[in-house]
């Protein structure tokens, strides 16, 4: 529960594991991470190699998940297809969490007119569809991970500002914050030493959720051809690619879909269990498209 000493990480992991949904989630996410890390070492075939003689083959001993319309090995591409998206999601999440929570906690602490002005500005920015923003950037900078990371980090940080502000507001009127003000601590030091330890759990849970949302966003963009650029294999890209041949070669579509959705579901299960353990109320509002 909030208000008691923070639980150590090992204890949190143990308590998440103790719940059935948490256990399932942790296994799924753990498997995905292991595969993503080890994929370059274990892929049986070159994911970009186009075998003109083996197009749209059904699963066999050589091609476990079959081949796509260019004769590429779906198994190898599925193993590798999450790496880039996960990397982008991770960096973008860090950016979103850092700037979003810093601003959110500070405006909660400062309050008054500053709070009102900043939050209305955030409101205004949130009303711009993020996908439009991304398209603008991609059109200007070209489709690359370097362009995606800052844009996603910025637009997903907007909802973090809200969450961090709301979490910090629970504490700004508490006596320990008032006591720190009376002692003469600076705002920054109050935000870091008094508020941050108390909102840490909410923010960490939120961060994990952001990660899965951003992952989904990257995949959506790849699907639209604005995300991970070929020849790097990517689930979103693979799904888009196999869309037209769904009836003839369903394997080319099903495997990347399964990979992406299982990762997102696994993350949600784990985070739900985690939120229960730390007593954080999870924000179920999913921003984005």
């Amino acid at each position: 529960m909030r208000g008691v000493a923070a639980l150590p990480v090992s204890r949190v992991l143990r308590d998440v594991w103790a719940q059935r949904s948490g256990r399932i989630g942790m296994v799924i996410v753990g498997l995905h991470l292991a595969v993503a890390l080890a994929a370059p070492l274990i892929v049986p075939q070159d994911p970009a190699f186009q075998d003109a003689g083996a197009m749209l083959q059904s699963p066999s001993l050589t091609h476990w998940f079959g081949t796509d319309r260019l004769g590429r090995d779906v198994f190898s591409r599925t193993l590798l297809g999450g790496r880039e998206a996960m990397l982008i999601a991770t960096i973008a999440t860090v950016i979103a969490m850092v700037w979003g929570s810093t601003l959110g906690i500070l405006v909660a602490l400062i309050g008054g007119r500053t709070d009102a002005v900043v939050m209305r500005f955030v409101d205004a920015l949130m009303s711009i569809p993020w996908i439009l923003l991304v398209m603008l950037f991609v059109a200007a900078l070209g489709s690359s991970s370097a362009a995606l990371v800052p844009v996603l980090g910025f637009s997903y940080g907007l909802s973090v500002v809200y969450l961090a502000r709301a979490a910090a507001l629970d504490f700004v009127a508490r006596d320990f914050v008032v006591a720190a003000q009376a002692r003469g601590h600076s705002r920054w030091s109050i935000a870091v030493t008094e508020l941050l330890p108390n909102v840490r759990d909410s923010l960490a849970v939120q961060g994990a959720m952001q990660w899965s949302w951003i992952l989904l966003a990257v995949s959506s963009l790849s699907f639209l051809g604005m995300g991970v650029a070929p020849p790097t294999p990517d689930w979103g890209q693979m799904i888009a690619d196999a869309r037209g041949i769904m009836q003839r070669a369903p394997w080319a579509l099903i495997w990347p879909m399964l990979a992406l959705s299982s990762l997102v579901i696994g993350m949600n299960l784990a985070v739900d269990a985690w939120a229960r353990v730390t007593g954080v109320e999870r924000n179920r509002r999913v921003p984005g498209p």
Binding site: G3, D175, F176, A179, A180, Q181, A182, R183, G184, T193
Partner: protein, 598 residues
């Protein structure tokens, strides 16, 4: 006293996993009798009260013994069997009626509902009874009160409405859980008058739980004292308090501040035992001033010690006079330290048509505090006493007037806001809050909490922090082993000591104490008062001690200022003010104090 007992409790045991919260409690209650149950927090008194109705808190269950109401067993029965009795023959007035009443339904409707359950009256009959009940609890204009929602009544009025609701079933036994907690002294006095009157007229028996012995002395004719779940003394009032039989009762009575006494009340050293790890012998033995070897070996049973008195002690003290309160030499008056001149503080409130109206909380208050002096600020809630402290601390901007600090022969006028004050001024004024749960960040170790002022004001290097913090803890008589604990692992009294240590870490000239003992048990309160007094003397620190309780202020303060509606009505030497009040308001404050007999 020949009537059959209405309520019989025999060897009652209530417990949870691996502990007994209530252990071997026995008493009987005859019609019209009133029993007070006294004890400090964690002594099991509220659990006992609930089990009298056959109710158990979550995680607790009936372990042994029995409770009988008019011969009918109350424990081990189904809820359906008890439904007719609960709220009927036995009724509970909960600790906080504001949360016990449904906020979205009218008072009259709620009482009428209770009547529907426990009487055969029709709608019209019930309406008449509702007005009758509200009249009996002396609510002005019962017809108006019946139409109100709980939030439209004052705290005292809500408490009366809850009593009216409890009376709806014409109970034989009324259970009261801390009936006056949270009420102002004058409201409390009026409510107790009502309860005493109800008891005498209505022949209703009462069991009243309170931490306040003054309340019990006013309301009850017998008292049972609980310590760590066990009943350690039972007997008539006021005899139990004037000639206590158990050392704990004696220590408890001596820890209560009294207007008539000089000097500070006496604390009880140590802390109550954990219910999971009880000493094998007498539970009070580790803290007892009269302990003998035999006390540590076997647990004494409640036995008759003198006429009409049962004491669970191997060596009852019935021959001993109550503890004498120590005399305190008056502090020397130093040079002036703080001058508050014509201070007014108001808050902006949103009014109609987008305009803001100013509500004045403190108006034109002036006083001075001398170096090393303790000034008491006393007043009821809303009198502006906390606001004055906040203004001095720079947390509430005054609308007019000035606050000046005299240090090193210089007079410095303080900026309105703490953000505008130099660090040297900030460190010399330190604030201690009412509730240490709220004033200590729950996510920091005690070491980190004490390190904050050390780092901020003195730039103490990291390597010296632990030694410095341990020194501070020693000053407030806490063990250095606590440095690595979290606030939640400490008791309320220990947490308040940490808060005091943190204030002294700054090396202040003036302490602002805002109701700092209100959330504490009396014996702990006495210890905290001693601590503040000793540390203030030792370090030549002045203090402004704010409280709603004149007896507490009287115990610690050299001078007292009485506040009423944001104005100082009287300032005088503490002894003089209590002995010979000049203003009628001061006199009414003194009269509303429930002195326990000495």
């Amino acid at each position: 006293m020949t009537a059959p007992p209405q309520l019989e409790v025999e060897n009652l045991q209530v417990g949870g996993e691996g502990c007994l919260v209530v252990d071997t409690v026995s008493f009987t209650l005859r019609p019209g009798e009133s029993l007070g149950i006294a004890g400090e927090s964690g002594s099991g008194k509220s659990t006992l009260l609930l089990s009298l109705m056959g109710l158990m808190r979550q995680g607790l269950r009936h372990v042994g013994g029995s409770v009988r109401l008019n011969g009918m067993p109350m424990l081990g029965q189904s809820d359906a069997a008890l439904a007719a009795v609960r709220g009927g023959k036995i009724a509970l007035i909960p600790q906080n009626p504001a949360t016990a009443l449904n906020p979205s339904r009218r008072i009259g409707t709620q009482i009428s509902e209770a009547l529907l359950l426990h009487s055969t009256l029709d709608k019209a009959g019930r309406d008449v009874r509702v007005l009758d009940l509200l009249g009996r609890v002396r609510l002005p204009e019962p017809a108006v009160a019946a139409r109100r929602f709980p939030h439209e009544l004052s705290g005292g009025q809500v408490q009366r409405a809850a009593i009216a609701m409890a009376l709806a079933g014409e109970p034989d036994v009324l259970l009261l859980d801390e009936p006056t907690t949270g009420l102002d002294a004058s409201t409390q006095a009026a409510l107790l008058d009502l309860l005493v009157d109800l008891r005498h007229r209505g022949q209703v028996a009462m069991v009243c739980v309170s931490h306040d012995l003054g309340v019990l002395a006013r309301l009850c004719d017998r008292i049972a004292v609980l310590y760590a779940g066990a009943m350690i003394e039972e007997g008539p009032l006021p005899a139990v308090l004037t000639r206590p039989g158990h050392p704990y009762t004696r220590a408890l009575a001596a820890s209560i501040p009294r207007l008539s006494a000089t000097g500070l009340p006496l604390p009880i050293e140590g802390r109550p035992p954990s219910l999971f790890d009880l000493p094998p012998g007498c539970r009070f033995a580790p803290r007892c001033a009269f302990v003998q070897d035999a006390c540590r070996d076997s647990r004494p049973a409640l036995t008759l010690a003198g006429p009409d008195r049962r004491v669970a002690c191997l060596y009852p003290l019935t021959t001993l006079a109550p503890a004498a309160v120590q005399l305190d030499a008056a502090a020397e008056q130093g040079a002036p330290l703080l001058a508050v001149e014509d201070l007014s503080v108001g808050y902006e409130q949103p009014g109609k048509h987008g305009k803001t109206t100013r509500r004045s909380v403190v108006s034109a208050v002036s006083f001075t505090v001398a170096r090393g002096e303790v000034l008491g600020l006393v007043g009821e809630s809303g009198s502006g006493k906390s606001t004055i402290l906040r203004a001095i601390a720079g947390l509430a901007a005054p609308s007019s007037g000035r606050i000046a600090l005299m240090r090193d022969g210089q007079t410095e006028v303080l900026a309105a806001r703490s953000t505008g004050r130099p660090l040297a001024q900030l460190r010399s004024i330190q604030l201690i809050f009412q509730n240490p749960d709220a004033s200590l960040n729950p996510r920091h170790r005690i070491l980190d909490l004490l390190a904050q002022p050390l780092h901020l004001y003195e730039k103490v290097p990291r390597s010296d922090l632990r030694a410095k913090a341990a020194e501070l803890l020693a000053e407030v008589r806490l063990d250095a082993a606590m440095l690595d604990r979290m606030p939640a692992q400490l008791s309320g009294g220990e947490r308040q000591r940490v808060a005091i240590a943190r204030a002294f870490a700054a090396g202040p000239d003036l302490l602002l104490c805002d109701e700092i003992t209100t959330a504490l048990d009396v014996s702990v309160q006495a210890a905290v008062l001693h601590l503040i007094r000793d540390l203030a003397r030792k370090h030549d620190v002045a203090a402004i001690f704010v409280s709603h309780d004149l007896a507490v202020v009287r115990a610690i303060a050299d001078r007292i200022a009485v506040l009423h509606n944001g104005k100082v009505v009287e300032t005088n030497d503490a002894r003089e003010l209590c002995a010979r009040p000049l203003e009628s308001y001061t006199r009414s404050l003194i009269d509303s104090i429930l002195e326990i007999p000495a």
